[in-house]
Symmetry: C2
Subunit: 352 residues, 2 copies
Amino acid sequence: MAEGITLEELQLAARNHGLPLEALRWDLTPIGLHYLLVHYDIPRVDPEAWRLEVGGLVERPLSLTLDELRERPSVEVAVTMECAGNGRARLEPRPISQPWLLEAVGTASWRGTPVSSLLEEARPLDGALDVLFTGLDRGVEGGEEQDYERSLPHAELMGSDALLAYEMNGVPLPPQHGAPLRLVVPGWYGMTSVKWLSRIAVLEAGFDGYQMRQSYRVRQEEDEPGEPVSRIQPRSLVIPPGIPDFLTRPRVVRPGTRVLEGRAWSGEAEIARVEVSTDGGATWSAAELGPTTLGRWAWRSWTYPWDAEPGDFELCSRASDAAGNVQPLDPPWNLGGYANNAVQRVPVTVTS
Amino acid sequence: MAEGITLEELQLAARNHGLPLEALRWDLTPIGLHYLLVHYDIPRVDPEAWRLEVGGLVERPLSLTLDELRERPSVEVAVTMECAGNGRARLEPRPISQPWLLEAVGTASWRGTPVSSLLEEARPLDGALDVLFTGLDRGVEGGEEQDYERSLPHAELMGSDALLAYEMNGVPLPPQHGAPLRLVVPGWYGMTSVKWLSRIAVLEAGFDGYQMRQSYRVRQEEDEPGEPVSRIQPRSLVIPPGIPDFLTRPRVVRPGTRVLEGRAWSGEAEIARVEVSTDGGATWSAAELGPTTLGRWAWRSWTYPWDAEPGDFELCSRASDAAGNVQPLDPPWNLGGYANNAVQRVPVTVTS
């Protein structure tokens, strides 16, 4: 599985980075351990010259400095963000792009001003249908030179907890996470949360740019329109117990009662249940869910006491959400390799 | 080149991370963009219970809390750190380990207490030859279960700028960079700068553990002892100009005078010269070196004005140090894939 990764995929894996799975132990992921996907380059931004422009189909266009945004009402929300391509490198045949295995996730506390209140301030006109967010990162993709930009339905945004964030975990937004300002859309895969935001435009028709029309669509064939990628599907991850082999990463665990720990999240609905298997998914037992103190949009911790006896095991966990979505055992394949939330498998040897 | 990366290598590339090359623009690498190699797992450390033990062949063993270390004399040094395996994935045949291409580097400002003064305080006895540094990260490597540990000659340390760092870029050491305390040895490849430091032991004989005897030796065959990897060989990197293709990363540049920028460093001696080629190394021109304000142990910036005319180019840079070491055009091969400082090649298309 995943043999034969190409130089191009490796170049992306070397620039972008995932969460080392032991870092699931922190409620809020320390800066530098949160997953990071930069489509093009981290742009050079002059904070003095930078403005957020809000325009398009609005009565009152805005042009705001970061200080002016900071003076507006602020909220702080813990959000688990996951890349839509997480799990891609486990698919066969493997879609060629950033080759994530399991680790494209992180949880941060984002502070900023609500998108809905800023849109209200700009007074969208009748007919406002879509809202376009444009970043300062520019590159070539699918042969098209483009700024990175994505849209969300106006109605969806007005009822959402989406925010324009200028702080992450209590410090100014780091450059790689979108400084000075980024969109954060709780519950949606990461491609929606446009970084290095420069412009918001209210539109009377759905935006049809590359990242909406071509990328981020679930389809089996190139010539079908497919369905847009949107909310995060349920997933859970186990913190690999014991100690690793440097190169191959299987785990060595001492016998005895070991409390397995992990996280579970879903953008569709609250986590309802996590189950654990130590035999590769043949049999399952319920894990105990931790507190909901991080709020609706962040992952939930879970624990499972495991009586580890000598032998070889394959640990798995499986999350279900309140809307009835359950992690599958087999990867759901699609052309772009999106939303593969198949259960994790952790090989473990318990020593005698 | 570098085709056929295995799942095991990809697992390492996904956990560890490099510096996206556009981040060479910062004198000090922002936290989260500095390269990171974690041999085993980031260990769980209880800061209340943690102590640094200094023992072995000393008159006065020490057991110190972090506060006690902070009360001692402190220094702050900007250090460019590079992984000894940087460039490994460009070698043929490719040594199987963390598959770095070019990006395993970063520069940080480290604050801490000098190793030499702490050793003096412990009063090494006659016969002190080697000093062993043991980290809290534990794993299996080459079939041996081990704590990560490396040593340095006592005489080398007493004359060096090595420090025990508790701050990085003005903030407490992040967990992934070795909190609460790490060794930083300026000028040496990163494997020397043991993270999550728990113990320093003065020895009367050279330490012969796995990371000295087996790893980090330059050799052509398994059965030769080889030479230990030590100081960073000269290297320079160009900040890729223009904009990238998302997947394949070649650059698109507009015609006109473009100032190419980059960094150069060497652990052997000061950087003496950087040359730039736009034709893949056939012809070279001198770049202008930037100021030395970051000090001896950090990279030096350089610039080169390029009159970019339409066409396809391959940009390269080549550093030389004051000891006469020059970056080679062809990768120097060895079994572990260490110290490959061959020149970078950046494909660029200048549009018409």
